[in-house]
Amino acid sequence: MAVTPPALLVERLAYAYPDGHQALYGINLRVEPGERVAVLGPNGAGKTTLVLHLNGILTGQGTVEVAGLPVAKPHLKEIRRRVGIVFQDPDDQLFMPTVRDDVAFGPANFGLRGTDLDARVTRALDDVGMAEHADRSPMHLSGGQRRRVALATVLACDPEILVLDEPSANLEPRARRELAEVLLGLDRTTLMVTHDLPYALQLCPRSVLIDDGVIVADGPTRELLADEALLAAHRLELPFGFRLG
């Protein structure tokens, strides 16, 4: 009987930037289908470097597999369809003149055309509640709307795993909550890189903590965030007034 492979499998991943700076020192991470995992860690811990390995933009030593397919040159296109990265600044992600064009960009690159493409775009925009803004320019949307459209551009590629880099950065409280509702409604394997510890608690049952290029803790988010000594040792802290017992 065939066993379902993990959605993401990272083994002994190490990477040094061309200038010699070693960013990752052997990361091991296994994410099962349907899991939502937060990747926590201070600035410079190697979180974004890890993310860029998941779809082969950076390649280090060790292995990365997405739903059983190794990240390697011959199938980079399929890997990039399977791994949907939502970058931190929506202005970097949204580059087309209209929302619709931008959401269609990914699936069109992966070969979808005509009515299939239209249907995919409509569904992705519906999923994030932005269907009525399809013909507007991303420039004329609010920060929260842009973030949701950026999410739609990746959802439209129908990825196996959704990777979000600091999804709550620069969002007003209401937009932050609306995005959380959208993400909770998606039911997709998700890896969320964040500094926003309450957001991690709300969205991800499991968290891994990265510091100095290694995973220093991996467990239920609530337990991780209740460990004040652990957080303090890695320059993380809960916002004023928060306390988890």
Binding site: I85, L94, P97, A104, F105, G106, N109, C157
Partner: protein, 252 residues
């Protein structure tokens, strides 16, 4: 087109001219401009016919002449040049309102004025009836190199982003007492432009990463309409008429 994507040169509509495939309109506009510039400057009547043809296109596209006229002001610097020509050029002169004007200069001025104006009017008509993103699809369908298309697409999108960034940087400078009206403070503005360049460059890198992550491999996906023989024939009809006029004007 729904609202929210306002562009000063585009006039959304649903007329036959608006619906025409963008590649047809681009070819028609380029050929029309070629006809105008190839017309001998002394064939005054030909330019009148060109203007009538344009007016006919405007009426089909429901563009008020006033709308075009205000946007045509962009050619004002060339108009000044055209009016200077009769005063500075040499050769035989004619008397106009008591002033001795160069005959050669008058003709040169007229040449610049009429051809420049018609060229601007043709471009404005194309821009008014074709959304910027359609223009890009049109260029792609005409097999303009993919790199040029990509650069044009990114310019279209990031001009606004970079302008907004420049505005924020300027506000931050002014808030700290910078007053760019004084000449000795121009240095800060110059450094601001330098910073803006570096930031735009870094953004370019991030945009590229985000595009590659969505499977981009150097070619923009084509989402435009294809154009059949009928679209080409009707779309090129005004330009074909202009070509006939050109033929008549060139006849000795």
């Amino acid at each position: 087109m729904s609202g929210g994507h306002a562009h000063p040169l585009h006039r959304p509509g649903n007329t036959p001219v608006h619906r025409l495939a963008p590649q047809v309109k681009i070819v028609a506009a380029v050929l029309a401009v070629l006809c105008v510039v190839s017309t001998p400057r002394e064939r005054y009547w030909a330019f009148g016919v060109y203007l009538l043809l344009l007016a006919a296109v405007w009426s089909i596209a429901r563009i008020p002449p006033g709308w075009v006229a205000t946007r045509a002001l962009i050619e004002a610097p060339f108009v000044v040049l055209a009016f200077v020509m009769p005063f500075v050029a040499g050769g035989p002169t004619v008397d106009v309102l008591g002033m001795a004007l160069s005959e050669h200069g008058l003709l040169s001025g007229w040449n610049i004025l009429v051809k420049g104006t018609l060229g601007v009017l043709v471009s404005l008509t194309l821009a008014a009836t074709t959304a910027p993103r359609e223009l890009i699809v049109g260029l792609q369908r005409l097999h303009v190199p993919a790199m040029v298309i990509t650069i044009a697409t990114l310019m279209l999108r990031y001009l606004d982003v970079i302008a907004a960034e420049a505005r924020r940087m300027r506000l931050a400078r002014i808030s700290r007492g910078h007053n760019p009206r004084f000449l000795w403070q121009v240095g800060a503005t110059a450094r601001g432009i330098g910073t803006l360049f570096v930031r735009s460059y870094e953004r370019g890198e991030r945009v590229h990463l985000a595009m590659v992550s969505r499977g981009w491999s150097g070619k923009m996906p084509d989402s435009g309409r294809s154009a059949g023989a009928v679209a080409w024939l009707t779309g090129l009809a005004p330009t074909a008429t202009a070509a006939v006029v050109l033929g008549m004007a060139l006849w000795p």
